[in-house]
């Protein structure tokens, strides 16, 4: 009995030798070698950005052709004015890639060439308005399909989806901006197809403050952001006597917002969307020394400037690092003009301008 057991145990041991070898694989606990630097992708484009943009025909297009575009990264989300997306540009124009991830500048360096295999992505427009009075084109973008119908494209977000479509090429020098004149600015129905500056890094010179600001506040950002009950437009059309709402910074951080709200500075602004006001005002939401209804959030601000006769909105995120930087008094008073470098975009046919950093705004004395 005992012998039988020992023999069978020995046999079992022998039989499991191979699996034992697997079983006793040592765990590496030594010093890990630093990984190699990633090698740049070797690809080439078969389509220009302008050609791609021209393929947009008024509704989102789920790209089913083998289109590859290439462009250098012209923006950075490091200071936070660009968020979850970046622009690339070639000779013919620039286009926004809707990544939907934070800290893109860590992986996609300014000046680095990116190749985009467009098949499987969606080409769509953001910010189009058909309104006869103020409407016009927005921007043609590359993103993913959006079945919710809320926007024409959605963010890519998924790492696999991104890595299968966007390839990192050589790093290079940062994109140099092109100085353009008033006449080179796009018209309200232009796209990259007919204006080669759209979506690119350009410099506009001699801008004069237009004495007008625009902010969209939400009473509670956990509520429906489209509901008029939840919206307050700080704009000349709300309180005509207060076209700048007293805002003297490029944008408003959380702290700045709280400061303005609690000062009672905006109490007269009416709640509502467009021209439909609910009858309430910001002041109605005042609590004990604060505005508890208002979400303590940061907000984007559009400061309006004039380039000759054309209106330029400089739009800046409240979450960016220079949100609370004061616009110099000499600019606000119209004494000084500014030169700005940033991405030229259209929103409902109007020119919206976004800078990468505060250094892109130069004050002319």
């Amino acid at each position: 009995m005992k012998k039988l057991f020992i023999i069978s145990a020995a046999l079992l041991l022998l039989a499991s030798c191979t699996s034992l070898k697997e079983e006793f694989q040592p765990v590496f606990t030594g010093k890990y070698k630093e990984p190699d630097k990633a090698q740049p992708a070797q690809m080439s484009a078969n389509t220009t950005i302008a050609e791609l943009a021209a393929m947009y025909n008024g509704k989102p297009w789920d790209i089913d052709k083998n289109i590859i575009i290439a462009g250098k990264v012209s923006t950075t989300d490091k200071p936070g004015n660009f968020y979850k997306s970046l622009y690339i540009q070639d000779e013919t124009g620039g286009i926004e890639l809707k990544f939907g991830r934070n800290g893109l500048y860590n992986d996609y360096l300014p000046g680095q060439t990116l190749y985009v295999k467009c098949k499987g992505l969606t080409l769509g427009m953001y910010g189009f308005s058909s309104s006869a009075s103020y409407g016009g084109n927005g921007m043609v973008q590359l993103g993913f399909t959006d079945p919710s119908g809320e926007y024409e494209t959605s963010y890519l977000e998924n790492p696999l989806l991104i890595d299968q479509h966007i390839f990192k090429g050589e790093t290079g020098t940062e994109v140099a901006s092109e100085v353009i004149t008033e006449s080179q600015l796009p018209g309200k129905n232009d796209t990259q197809k007919n204006n080669r500056y759209i979506g690119k890094l350009v410099t506009l010179k001699g801008l004069k403050y237009a004495n007008e600001a625009f902010v969209l506040l939400y009473i509670n950002s956990n509520w429906d952001k489209k509901s008029p009950q939840n919206r307050v437009f700080l704009s000349p059309s709300n309180v005509a006597s207060d076209p700048t709402a007293g805002i003297t910074t490029w944008a408003m951080s959380k702290a700045k917002m709280t400061e303005y709200l609690t000062s009672g500075r905006w109490d007269a602004f009416r709640v509502g969307s467009g021209n439909t006001y609910t009858g309430e005002t910001v002041g109605d939401f005042k609590g004990e020394g604060s505005y508890p209804g208002f979400e303590k959030a940061a907000y984007s601000v559009s400061q309006y400037f004039k380039m000759g006769s054309k209106e330029i909105q400089i739009r800046t995120s409240g979450y960016c690092k220079f949100s609370d930087v004061e616009i110099p008094e000499s600019v606000l008073s119209g004494k000084s003009t500014i030169d700005v470098t940033g991405i030229l975009t259209l929103y409902q046919g109007n020119i919206q301008f976004t800078v990468n950093s505060i250094d892109d705004i130069v004050i002319n004395d």
């Binding site: 630093e34 860590n106 993913f144 079945p147 998924n158 696999l160 956990n222 949100s323």
Partner: protein, 980 residues
């Protein structure tokens, strides 16, 4: 108590009525080293009828005389040893001298220590999950529950593990800051730490009063280590691959000196959870001198230097995608090698000096000094302004793209397919999506223009300096009264800080607070983790490898107590009463001035920078400080207990105990955000506990049983946690107080011989109800500013949640039913349970031991009624109501219920054998196969995330999925040993 019983029962108890001249005598000894075993119970029976019984004396000797000629079965039982049954023949009226009756130590129990448990990475969740480790005595229940229930992370009587008092050499060593039992300090030193004394429940201990969840005192002195050489090699497929251990103990030499050494190494990974590994070593060395049996001086030191990888919990979605409930998101490949981001690195030497004085056999006095010091680090990824590197981050999952319920507003089914693809292709091309992508982290750092690391590995330190002084006295005043008493003092200073462990290819890490930067980025001074450095240098500090950053503070604890207990004995009745009183105080001492909470400068003035005042004040007008000493919080603590026992003829014993405790909260339960400031929980108070139990024990003729009923009420506990709150879009601190619990239940353990000689059947049952009995009060503050978000609100659905009557619609969907008036129908209030332990645990085991030293065991276990740890946020009206602030039955039904885990059945088996060579060398093995049915669906714990999802209609919140830990599938442990 135990010693007293020993003395009493050393006397012959039962005698046969017939006057006979035959008998049996001998000496009960340890198989190893022939050390005598005192208080071994010896029962003689004939044809199943008990004939006589006795207990061995301290020198192991026993004698049963006046026996008739014939064959007897002799059953020998002793604490910590396997039962032994031998046949004895008495003939011709002689007293049969059996010389040595050798007993084998019950090997199994000794293998339990904290290395039996995977380190659960609960760090970011605000929860803790430490099981109770019960050490065996001769008690059937403790024996089985202590080892057999460890895989399910059973908590004895549902009590938190910090209620269990763990003593080392007479010093209570539960962590000063958290209260946890510090088993990891000596794990891997099984031989040196084998000798233990234990009490159960409320029983007082002789070197300390103890609380209500038993005392385990690990002797750890060299003379208690078994004499001789011992070597063992152990391999195990659930934790680490290999353990090698060697021990030598001299025993007491002629000159009164004993010394002992124990070393071990535990290395390797396991079959089930990748990333979990050990690289731990352990040493113990001690020397003891006995001066004429009156004075005894002991000095020993030990530590367990090494590192071990930790396991992380994931959501069921992730487990299902990976097809593996043991998926661990903590690791990834670096250059093709598995690297875990969460590694515990410890080196905490403990040194003990003890002096014992025994002038007479009735008096013993001990004085002990214990010092614990060293380093305890725990690595984790840290990142600045870069994507969350965790592979199972919720935005990487299919559910983030698409949910069937439209109200989630997640409708992108094509993106869902991409995410599914990413998670279900299990090959190396996809490994970097399913596990940490170290290569990418390095590349990001390589790309960082001036070498600033965006990803780094931090090492969080909790470095203790813990000094204990204890003196105690045991005085046997008379045959009827024994007095125990003593005094203890504890001095603890624990430094909490973090260092850069690895810059992952970068050159430095910047010492700023990125959450502060998000909210107060405009003022650079506010974002500083070290404002003093910033003000002196005009820029944030650049941290190199090994440099401290982030936070740095001391937790200080002082604790002084005196205690006394008396044991009375009148014939069959014994009684005890004890009292302890003391003072516990603690405070925080910040070593860094954080920009957000600058406080006052060293001269007591407000601090200004760039024209702005940095000093800020709380709602009561007090300065909020990060640096310097906090208020000292002091509490009078006391503990009173009493018990009585009565022994009946035939091995029956009945006992009852009761106790009341007034305990201080721990440092970690008191400070709201100790990493950043001196603020404590409002209404800080002591925890009050009342506990009582009644017990019935039976021990006779190889039959042994215990039935215990217990009832415990714990009141006024506090808890703190910090988490990102989606309703405020901010990192917040959540403090909760007035948490009450009630633990009531029964414990049953029984063992009996079963048909064959050497075969026994044993069973245990732990059935209880461990519930929350109060709705605590909470306050929530902004971590960045201490702004009060919610103040003094009840956690409305903490102790229970309503269960609504449901109805099924014709289309198959379920809705909440309404009565004729349109009112929703509440069927009952569902109680909420103390989590992470089964409310019902049962085992039936068959043990078969042969004279040839083979042993076999087969056991089946059943666990039920385990619940998930609750997140208090989901039980507040705010979270239930949603953004529209309207509470509906559907929301209550969805948000407040507590998850109950499915019951589990496990089958385990063991086999072992030992051989003697020349009566000197002993060689043997034991092999255990656990979870033989390979059940991989047993949840052992987990937690609820604290995040909320806003509904499409903006009228309610949805929960994030909960995260779980699962038990390993079938696994084995094989131990080979060699002793001489």
């Amino acid at each position: 108590m135990k010693k007293l019983l020993t003395t009493l029962s050393a006397v012959l108890i039962a005698i046969t009525a017939l006057a006979q001249s035959g008998g049996v005598k001998g000496s009960v000894v340890d198989r190893q080293g022939r050390a005598p075993i005192g208080d071994a119970k010896i029962v003689l029976s004939q044809k199943g009828e008990e004939v006589a019984r006795c207990a061995s004396a301290n020198d192991g000797r026993f004698l049963i005389d006046r026996l008739a000629d014939g064959m007897y079965d002799m059953l020998v039982t002793a604490d910590g040893y396997n039962d032994l049954i031998v046949s004895v023949t008495v003939d011709k009226g002689f007293v049969k001298d059996m010389m040595f009756v050798t007993m084998t130590a019950s090997q199994k129990i000794a293998e339990v220590d904290d290395s039996s448990f995977t380190e659960f990475d609960m760090d970011d969740s605000g929860y803790t999950d430490t099981p109770t480790i019960l050490y065996g005595s001769n008690d059937v229940y403790t024996n089985i529950a202590g080892y057999g229930f460890s895989a399910i992370r059973f908590k004895n009587r549902g009590y938190n593990s910090e209620t269990q008092d763990v003593y080392l050499s007479g010093i209570r060593l539960n962590d000063a800051i958290t209260g946890y039992s510090p088993y990891s300090l000596w794990s891997g030193l099984n031989e040196a730490m084998r000798a233990k004394e234990t009490t159960m429940g409320l029983e007082p201990y002789t070197e300390g009063l103890g609380r209500y969840n038993g005392v385990t005192n690990i002797m750890a002195n060299p003379s208690s280590v078994r004499k001789g050489w011992r070597f063992s090699a152990l391999t195990n497929s659930a934790m680490y691959r290999l353990r090698l251990m060697g021990t030598y103990a001299s025993g007491e030499l002629d000159n009164g000196i004993s010394y002992a050494v124990n070393v071990s190494a535990r290395v390797g990974g396991n079959d089930w959870i990748k990333g979990i590994y050990y690289r731990s070593f352990a040493y113990y060395a001690g020397i003891e001198k006995n001066f004429d049996d009156i004075h005894r001086v002991t000095l020993f030191t030990f530590a367990t230097p090494g590192q071990r990888g930790a396991q992380n919990a994931s959501t069921q979605e992730v487990y299902d995608l990976m097809g593996d409930n043991m998926y661990n998101s903590n690791w990834g490949y670096q250059n093709g090698k598995v690297r875990n981001s969460r590694v515990r690195k410890t080196f905490e030497p403990v040194t003990v000096l003890r002096y014992s004085y025994t002038p007479t056999t009735d008096l013993e006095a001990n004085a002990t000094l214990l010092w614990r010091t060293g380093k305890n680090g725990y690595t984790a990824l840290d990142w600045y302004d870069a994507a969350d590197p965790r592979p199972d981050y919720y935005r990487n999952l299919p559910s983030y793209a698409y949910m069937e319920e439209e109200d989630y507003n997640r409708s992108n089914d094509e993106k869902y397919e991409w995410a599914r693809e990413m998670w279900t292709q299990h090959n190396r091309d996809f490994a970097n999506y399913q596990h940490l992508n170290w290569d990418r982290l390095y590349n990001v750092n390589y790309n960082s223009p001036d070498g600033r690391s965006k990803y780094a590995l931090e090492e969080r330190h909790v470095d203790q300096n813990d000094i204990h002084l204890a003196a105690n006295l045991k005085w046997r005043a008379s045959d009827h009264f024994t007095l125990n008493g003593g005094a203890t003092f504890r001095w603890n200073k624990t430094e909490n800080y973090k260092v850069i462990n690895d810059l992952l290819g970068g050159q430095y890490y910047l010492n700023i607070d990125q959450f502060a930067e998000r909210d107060f980025g405009a003022n650079e001074a506010l974002t500083q983790n070290d404002l003093d450095y910033y003000m002196a240098h005009g820029e944030a500090q650049k941290i190199e490898k090994g440099g401290k950053y982030g936070y740095d503070y001391y937790a200080n604890v002082r604790d002084a107590r005196i205690w006394a207990s008396g044991e009375f004995s009148f014939g069959r009745l014994t009684a005890n009463a004890g009292f302890e009183a003391g003072y516990n105080s603690f405070w925080r001492e910040g070593l860094l001035r954080k920009g957000l909470f600058a406080g006052l400068d060293d001269n007591g003035n407000e601090i200004f920078w760039g024209g702005q005042r940095l000093t800020n004040y709380d709602a009561d007008g007090n300065v909020i400080s990060s640096k310097g000493k906090s208020d000292v919080f002091g509490f009078f603590v006391w503990n009173a207990k009493a018990g009585a026992a009565y022994r009946f003829d035939g091995g029956h014993r009945v006992s009852a105990n009761a106790g009341f405790l007034n305990d201080a909260p721990t440092f970690n339960q008191a400070f709201v955000s100790p990493r950043t400031r001196n603020t404590v929980v409002p209404n800080l108070t002591t925890t009050k506990t009342f506990s009582a139990d009644v017990n019935y024990q039976y021990n006779n003729g190889g039959y042994s049983a215990r039935v215990t009923a217990f009832w415990t009420k714990i009141m006024d506990q506090t808890d703190v946690m910090s988490f990102y709150d989606d309703t405020y879009h901010s990192f917040t601190n959540f403090a909760m107080w007035g948490i009450d619990q009630r633990h009531a239940g029964i414990e049953i353990g029984a063992r009996a011989p079963f048909f064959l000689k050497g075969l026994t059947i044993s069973g245990v049952l732990s059935l209880g109800e461990y519930i929350y009995t109060s709705n605590p009060i909470m306050t929530q503050t902004m971590d960045n500013s201490t702004d009060v978000l919610v103040s003094n609100e009840p956690v409305e659905y903490w102790k229970s949640s309503p269960v609504y009557k449901k109805a099924k619609l014709p289309d198959g969907t379920t809705v909440l039913d309404q009565n004729a008036d349109g009112e929703y129908i509440i069927e009952k209030e569902q109680k909420h349970y103390v989590p992470s332990t089964p409310q019902l645990a049962a085992e039936i085991a068959f043990n078969y031991r042969l004279q040839s030293y083979w042993f076999f065991e087969l056991n089946g276990q059943y666990f039920a009624g385990s619940h998930l740890d609750m997140n208090p946020l989901y039980r507040t009206t705010i979270a239930v109501a949603g953004p529209d602030h309207v509470v509906t039955p559907a929301e209550i039904d969805y948000m407040t219920a507590q998850e109950k885990f499915a019951p589990a059945f496990l089958l385990n088996a063991s086999i072992g054998k030992s051989w003697y060579i020349n009566r000197k060398y002993n060689f043997g093995f034991s092999c255990e196969i656990k979870n033989m049915l390979n059940n991989r669906n047993v949840k052992t714990g987990g937690y609820e995330q604290t995040r909320l999802i806003n509904s499409a209609a903006h009228n309610r919140y949805y929960r994030f999925d909960s995260k779980y830990f699962y038990m390993c599938g079938a696994n084995y442990m094989l131990n080979l040993y060699f002793r001489f």
